[in-house]
Symmetry: C2
Subunit: 339 residues, 2 copies
DNA sequence: ATCTATTTCGAAAACGTTTTCGTTGCGTTT
DNA sequence: AAACGCAACGAAAACGTTTTCGAAATAGAT
């Protein structure tokens, strides 16, 4: 049972391959009579074009590549969801690669995707990405690149992200307005841009409300913003600052670690200490008490990044000049029981 | 800045394309002298083979396709992790598609992947998949298929799964041996094979310990085994069977819904009612009380399914006869505070 | 009847690689 | 000197499609 090609159809009908191809693609220079015959025979022989040949001929693969730190993460899995759905809607397939937060893997994967001749690339930068030659290589090949979530302002390409500083600012302002004064912050590593920005937002909120910034109230998450980080830091925090009255956590998961420790220690949330997370992971509505947090669009981020990418791909094919877009998606603070 | 081809190297060196190709691929019929010259020039011109041409010529894409119900699920995202890692290690890239538990999408995606000429396909069947012509189409194209997690025994292909019935049986036996007698079961839809098998294990455990099976103790999850299912069913259960002493839940997430309700109602876990989940989602160690559950290998399942698939791909290329493997991965019961 | 315009088709190049097969030139053997 | 073997290379086909261009055929106009 061989796969039928244009040649097979042509032979069956006693016409040329060119005519068959043109008939199938709706070219005007083929008569209705033969077009019908071709269509019929194509259906009869169950013809589907050999994409490998089409790819080679048209120099496009209808495939986009995605590089993310990890798939095993509620946020990224929803982004992937959005990417896949949007890409498929437009007839594109998506190849996913993980950087595991390592620059060398990110570089390697860029090369893999370039070799594969994907039509476009979507990247959420790893935390350890400090140089951008691999990204410039993409541009030099004239294939579109869209950065999302973890973005590099210095790279000339479109991007989709949130305003981490502003989101964090609003969350902390909420706490202040609720009357909390001694607000701790659990943050992630010093090189992660998200963490830097949220930390900035935290500091600015304090400053704008004339609350002195106390560095000893800032705790680093040693692991990978695991929930155990929240648990351990909460323990430390209570020991060092028994009079603390709120915690702003870099992540819902970390916040849930905090809540777990407070629950065990019978520390009342939010009466004694309030807790606020980040991301609006669905578990934040499941935990007791339910967690105040910041809604961060994940599915939409995937959809929009993909939309922009596909637009740029089509633009390049039409030899249009493409202008990059740098989109900031809105975040909203969600008040729940924990604050 | 054009991309260099074999032709470019050949022209620079004044030799033929064939010789360049053979030099690059280490053919014996090219002298060391010219091989060195070719290698040098290739590096100088930054040559990388055009995969589209290679694909067409060799009829393989070094790409595998994956169809899963959803990416947004802790279990599946870890499976994807395993698949991607293993595939990449062997030089393959992976295309991911979602069926959203719909048969027509599953069929559509099989066709997409077949059109893309992927070298092999990995599928976790949707709950609504009742016919298998689309799977047989894959076999008729002579491209390997490996089913994982949601498997169809009637389809002639390799598979990797767990023994749901046995795992459920062991969990319920554990409850019985702990002295629990009135054990409820929260299950998923009637057409999901997982749900059927776990239900069978539940019944068999009761039977083997001469506990009469009471159908009114079995509750269906109306949503999609959401945590709200657990919450709502727990509410119903306590109303209808105030004397229930254990719940065996189809999923950790559902179990966590149960725990939330019990905590709110000050129903002591496990003193009054024990709770057991399924999957060993990491949240089961975070929740209070920590959840007894069944460890279900997810990352490994992805790795092993991919290993088998890639072996079959290589086997077919060497024209070997391939024998299908049907692997059952071990599960282990994990006792925690909730039982 | 010739000329022009239009419709319909096919030949062929092209995409870049892989691989078979033949050719050349050289050295070795009788 | 003829015969043979071998090393080194190139020509060319092939993968299946798309698309340009020219040719043929038909129709219409004068």
């Amino acid at each position: 049972m061989e796969i039928t090609t244009l040649k097979d159809i042509a032979q069956q009908l006693g016409i040329s391959i060119s005519t068959v191809s043109k008939a199938l693609k709706g070219y005007p220079d083929v008569s209705k009579a033969t077009r019908d015959r071709v269509l019929l025979m194509a259906r009869k022989l169950n013809y589907t074009p050999n994409q490998l040949a089409v790819n080679l001929r048209t120099k496009q693969t209808k495939t986009i590549g995605v590089i993310i730190p990890t798939t095993v993460h509620h946020f990224f899995s929803k982004v992937i969801d959005g990417i896949i759905e949007e890409a498929e809607k437009k007839g594109y397939l998506v190849i996913i690669l993980q950087s595991n937060e390592k620059l060398f893997l990110e570089k390697l994967h860029v090369n893999l995707l370039l070799d594969k001749r994907v039509d476009g690339i979507l990247i959420s930068l790893s935390n350890t990405t400090t140089e951008y030659v691999h990204l410039k290589k993409i541009a030099s090949r004239n294939i579109p690149l869209v950065l999302f979530d973890k973005v590099a302002p210095s790279v000339a390409c479109s991007s989709v992200a949130i305003d981490d500083k502003k989101a964090a600012y609003e969350a902390v302002v909420h706490l202040i307005e609720k009357g909390y004064k001694k607000i701790a912050h659990f943050r992630a590593g010093l090189n992660a841009q998200n963490s830097i920005d949220r930390f900035e937002g935290y500091k600015k909120a304090l400053k704008d409300h004339t609350i002195p910034f106390d560095p000893s109230l800032v705790y680093m998450c040693a692991n990978n913003t695991d929930f155990e980080d929240g648990y351990a830091n909460a323990q430390l925090l209570i020991k060092e600052h028994p009079d603390v009255d709120a915690v702003f956590s870099i992540t819902d998961l970390v916040a849930i670690g905090v809540i777990k420790y407070f629950n065990e220690q019978k520390i009342q949330i939010p009466a004694q200490v309030a807790v606020v997370g980040f991301s609006n992971w669905f578990m934040s509505t499941v935990i007791s008490p339910t967690l105040s947090t910041i809604e961060q669009p994940s599915y939409d981020m995937g959809v929009i990044a993909t939309e922009i990418l596909l637009n740029e791909i089509e633009g390049i094919q039409k030899k249009e000049v493409i202008t990059h877009q740098n989109i900031i998606l809105p975040t909203t603070f969600i008040e729940r029981e924990s604050s």
